[in-house]
Symmetry: C2
Subunit: 345 residues, 2 copies
């Protein structure tokens, strides 16, 4: 077990990596606690939840709405929660996003913690205090920044994680390496292709390093006014790809990173060889890297992205493997890059 | 015109008292701005809103729900707002509460300002950064703390304010005097009974003083961990009375203050003469002070109040006219006080 964390003006978030999930009760510090989870976790881990006040959501992105947040708050009222209570989200990114938002607005905010159960949530989504829900098909358009008191990462959950979900987590870890750590990038290149069969010790090290990278960025820029924008590497295009269809989040981000790397090359920031290494690393982890043939729907989806700022987009480019920079580039130029990449894929 | 304000860790809120509402555009600092208002204000003040992107809500408390917040966010998307935009709420407390919450969660938060149009919103509700909506009949159970960038108080709005609304504003001003300012209390005692006919100069002075009292408390305790609880004087019972029926917010608070003052007397903190002065001041402003005959529904509503903390309630007592203290008293004792007051009203 390893312990890390980060501090923001609002307080400190403690992170325990490779620790037993059952410890969440003592981390909630004796407060009356409601657990928010999904029906899959409730079915797979009955002992973890025994004797707890549990609200189980249907799994998946579809319930990630304000209506669900309202239903949760109504449930909290029914359970007798008040301002001195605590909320624990146990699940993947969707559960953490919803539970964090519900806790943040229930009676103007009760403290909360996360027990992420997917690799993606453990290495990325549960860290950093972005809580939110979707509006129609626009992702995370309604939400807020508010940090959890703790994140408890139990790697045992990954034993029941489907392979496709495992790959989605790998995408975000590769992202953290690509933007901030040449050494993690090299470590990942040396791992066997199939992440799901990683040794526990290697997995702990990789997840911990991924979390530390993100935690460092959050401390520097909690509300995404600068440095934190780097975490959107692969996401401007990724969110658009995800909205357009068939990709899961991590897969869409993988294609988005490959495209953003190619754009970085087109702008003379990285070499073709470096782009090749990134694509190879993603491919070996079982992730897609090829852009779709039709750029139209992606461009349309990008127009509605919440990171747009007037006519320009904050776009994350690589300036090396393990180094990123954010440029405000005209939306038109980005559109042209995308058309180009889809045509010559 | 007078200018005041307050600062919290998140930034500064500028307050302009007795200034023309038309100035809201320049206070939004050239950002793309959406105005949230209600249909009454839109009908009464077409020139103020001409050429603006306006979303007009139906007036009244019934639309104060998360569904309305979601609809507002969808509208913001449609209007092309992004993170660099600004939201201005123009209306009474309900509009400010909803607009502030919608702005706070749209794309994880855009800045906002208020142009309050009722005496209650000007002297109280628009100040302090409590934003929220109701859940079923439980008031403000879903919300958050987030401060407006500005509050622009134009006293001209009060010319079209119904007398009953005027009285509700008076209740909150009397509350501020009762908990924090013997001198404002005495000033109010010298005013003519009918507040709606106050001279502009007197009104400006009273509203400004009321705002300054609240601003000082917010600076000391933004998130209601201590000092700010004093602002709930009359509200623990007031909220319950409001839920039970027929009273408007200010009227319920007026009865709640009279009852809380009587409880303070029963506990030996103030004299019967002081309680009499408070009741007289409220009565002269046209406000009710008599508790209902049946304590049952009030007690039931109090059980669900979000300020409850286990078996105890933070209850605000007067220890003089212009001085309050917060005590954690057993819910049972409070219940007994209420039964007593309803019986001997």
């Amino acid at each position: 077990m390893k312990t890390t964390g980060y501090a923001t003006p609002a307080g400190r978030c403690e992170i325990h990596v490779n620790a037993p999930a059952a410890g969440f009760g003592s981390l909630a510090a004796g407060r009356k606690t409601a657990v928010v989870t999904d029906t899959t976790i409730r079915r797979l881990y009955p002992r973890l939840l025994a004797g707890r006040d549990v609200v189980a959501l249907p799994p998946g992105e579809r319930g990630k709405t304000l209506a669900t947040v309202e239903a949760l708050c109504a449930k909290f009222l029914k359970l007798g929660l008040d301002r001195s209570s605590f909320v624990v989200g146990i699940g993947g990114g969707v559960v953490c996003d919803i539970a964090g938002l519900a806790a943040s607005v229930f009676m103007r905010g009760v403290p909360f913690g996360f027990v992420p159960t997917t690799l993606l949530a453990q290495a990325d989504a549960a860290i950093g205090g972005k809580n939110g829900v979707n509006l129609d098909r626009y992702k995370n358009v309604v939400g807020l920044f508010n940090q959890p008191r703790f994140v408890l990462v139990d790697l045992d959950f990954l034993k029941t994680l489907p392979a496709r979900e495992f790959r989605c987590g790998a995408a975000e870890i590769i992202k953290h390496a690509s933007i901030a750590s040449p050494s993690l990038f090299e470590t990942l290149e040396k791992l066997p292709g199939e992440w799901a069969s990683l040794k526990r010790r290697d997995l702990e090290a990789v997840v911990l390093r991924s979390i530390e990278i993100k935690a460092g960025i959050i401390e520097a820029d909690e509300k995404e006014a600068g440095e934190r924008r780097k975490l959107n590497f692969g996401h401007t295009l990724g969110h658009a790809l995800e909205r357009v269809g068939r990709f899961r989040h991590g897969e869409a981000v993988s294609v988005g990173m490959a495209m953003a790397a190619a754009i970085s090359e087109a702008r003379g920031l990285v070499s073709g060889q470096e782009v090749g290494r990134l694509k190879r690393l993603l491919g070996r982890a079982g992730l897609p890297v090829r852009p779709p043939s039709d750029p139209g729907p992606i461009v349309e989806a990008m127009r509605k992205d919440k990171k747009r700022r007037g006519r320009d987009v904050h776009f994350v480019l690589l300036s090396g493997l393990g180094r990123a920079e954010v440029r405000e580039i005209p939306f038109r130029d980005l559109e042209e890059h995308v058309r180009d990449l889809c045509q010559h894929r």
